[in-house]
């Protein structure tokens, strides 16, 4: 996934054929996170807690419905043959790129849960087997697509070689 140009507030990406197929396959996983995955507070017994949690879950459900609508448009309307190359062009405005980031991250986090919540800092490896290997692939592919989108939105987000600060060696792909 490579940014070709920005014009009229739209970001035009190029994707190779296999890359485009991978993106569409990964996006089919959405949504992976249940709407009650997040907690609005860690405070136990807060009188406002239950109402705030219910509001959050309603908001997340509505947000998921909107994202599903966006994804229905993404394949047929947005991904078009590049013409001069064997791949595809994907033109998105900034808001759509942000939505795509949210969708990909939902898939990444949901996949991460399904492969046993690996944690590189704790030396905890992914628990991959025949049943969940597709989630591991989705997690890794989602990471690459996310980085490409962020680099397009903010070219300064990724320091070039030689610009790393001490302790930054693991950026940008290192999990938080």
């Amino acid at each position: 996934m490579k940014l070709l140009k920005t014009e009229g507030g739209r970001f035009v990406f190029y994707l190779g054929r296999r890359e485009a197929a991978l993106l569409l396959k990964v996006l089919k996983f959405y949504p992976l996170l249940p709407t009650d995955y997040h907690r609005v507070t860690r405070s136990t017994g807060a009188e406002w807690g239950p109402d705030a949690q219910r509001l959050l879950e309603e908001s997340m459900a509505e947000h998921q419905r909107e994202n599903v609508k966006l994804l229905e448009l993404l394949g047929p309307r947005k991904l078009r043959p590049a013409g001069d190359r064997p791949g595809y062009r994907l033109a998105l405005d900034r808001a759509e790129v942000e939505r795509l980031l949210q969708i990909l991250n939902d898939i990444r986090v949901g996949s991460w849960l399904r492969v046993g919540c690996p944690d590189p800092d704790e030396g905890k490896l992914p628990e991959v087997n025949d049943q969940n290997v597709r989630y591991y692939i989705a997690m890794r592919a989602g990471e690459q697509f996310e980085c490409a989108l962020i680099a397009a939105l903010d070219p300064g987000a990724f320091p070039r070689d030689g610009e790393l600060e001490p302790g930054d060696e693991d950026r940008p792909g290192h999990p938080e």
Partner: protein
């Protein structure tokens, strides 16, 4: 304080840009302190997790709070190295709004009543 005209000529004075009046920070801090004493508000906290990318977290902070990269990276590093970062202190409604936005991006955020 009276704004002087350019070159000392009253008749042909060039339009002047009035410099903004900047109040001393200490006064603003006092105002904030008294406001928070009356209404402590709610803290929006982002918690560390092993899955979200550092560059992604920085990006999300920039988008949601309109922060410059330097400030967003400061909070991202707090999350990463200290386990959490207090992002803002707000009213219940605004804190809820921010927490919803952070969750839409898949970050692990909560709101807690400020003491």
């Amino acid at each position: 304080m009276v704004e002087s005209s350019a070159g000392g000529s009253y008749g042909l004075a060039m339009p002047q840009t009035v410099e903004p009046v900047v109040l001393p920070d200490i006064e603003r801090e006092n105002q904030d302190a008294s406001r928070y004493a009356l209404e402590p508000g709610y803290l929006v906290i982002c918690w560390n997790d092993p899955v979200n990318l550092m560059v992604y977290v920085t990006h999300v902070f920039q988008v949601i709070f309109g922060w410059a990269r330097q400030k967003a990276e400061f909070h991202m590093r707090q999350v990463h190295f200290q386990g959490k970062s207090v992002l803002v202190r707000e009213s219940l409604e605004k804190a809820e709004h921010y927490v919803h936005q952070l969750h839409q991006y898949g970050l692990h955020a909560t709101m807690e009543r400020a003491e």
